[in-house]
């Protein structure tokens, strides 16, 4: 059997269980739960607050700060990179995924524009909802917070029609 550290993929059930353990240890040792969208907002505030000094959101809700989530995000970046490097699949590649190319064509700029627009929508929505897939859907569910059970169906109600629109007959 191949060394599991060098395998490109694990069963998503095993990988997910790993995140479950991270959630338990975060709450036990740091009294926090994993999340990522908040870290991006606190980091964005370093640019946004000087530009909009009276903005309520960047003054009171998400002020510029190196929060717990920012450190977690740094770890996420390093962990995902180490995983891909050990598996020998890490590379800097601006080209889109083969499935993307089959739908939108090979142009790299289209992928970057779409990633940017989608990213803006995603982060704005996380601001409205109060979290993202990790901070709200997963961390909320483990606490049995009703918010998570409103967010997850919403995610599919929003995502399915967009995927249908993009993939058309190939859906």
């Amino acid at each position: 059997m191949k060394n599991p550290l060098k395998q490109e993929e694990w069963s998503p059930y095993v990988a997910g269980a790993g995140l479950g353990l991270v959630a338990v240890l975060s709450l036990l040792l740091a009294n926090q739960l994993p999340g990522s969208s908040g870290a991006f907002q606190n980091l964005a505030a370093f640019v946004a607050k000087p530009l909009f000094p009276d903005n309520f959101f960047f003054n009171y809700l998400m002020p510029p700060a190196i929060t717990w989530q920012v450190w977690l995000l740094l770890g996420v970046f390093l962990g995902a990179m180490a995983s891909a490097m050990l598996a020998g699949v890490w590379k800097l590649d601006p080209n889109p995924d083969p499935q993307w190319k089959a739908v939108f064509g090979p142009q790299v700029w289209k992928r970057w524009v779409m990633a940017f627009i989608g990213g803006v929508i995603l982060e704005f929505a996380a601001g409205i909802a109060g979290g993202c897939t990790s901070g709200l859907a997963i961390s909320g569910s483990v606490q049995l917070a009703p918010a998570a059970f409103l967010f997850i169906p919403g995610m599919f109600i929003g995502g399915i029609p967009v995927a249908m629109l993009i993939y058309g007959k190939r859906y």
Binding site: E9, W10, P12, A15, G16, A17, G18, L19, G20, L21, V22, A23, V24, L27, L29, A30, N31, L33, P34, W68, L72, L73, L74, G75, V76, F77, L78, G79, A80, S83, A84, D97, Q99, W100, M114, I117, G118, L122, A125, I128, A129, G130, G135, S141, V142, Q143, A145, P146, A147, A148, L150, F151, I152, P153, G154, I157, G158, V162, A163, Y171
Partner: protein
């Protein structure tokens, strides 16, 4: 935050990122295909994390080793409508 907390947090993030990559969730097609129901890795990963996290957290709470004071806030319209818009962004970006 103490240096110890920062090291612990980066380590926890490291494991989080490691599992994301191992589940293939750093790839565009894995994210989009959950909305096409052709690859359910995102759901399998999320629900497995929820099951393990839920059992661990509620067992430790039952033993009195931790408390759940920082529960995620619920506001029905925000969580639900934010979720819908989030799905739109997720399917478009593939992240």
């Amino acid at each position: 935050m103490t240096v110890g907390t920062v090291i612990l947090t980066v380590f926890l993030g490291f494991v989080f990122g490691w599992t994301l990559d191992k589940a293939g969730l750093t790839k565009y097609h894995k994210i989009v295909n959950v909305f096409r129901f052709t690859d359910l890795s995102v759901l399998k990963y999320m629900l497995s994390a929820v099951v393990v996290g839920m059992i661990g957290i509620w067992a430790l709470k039952g033993l009195g080793l931790l408390d759940l004071t920082g529960t995620v806030n619920t506001y029905i319209a925000g969580n639900f409508l934010g979720g819908i818009l989030f799905g739109v962004g997720m399917a478009a970006a593939g992240f």
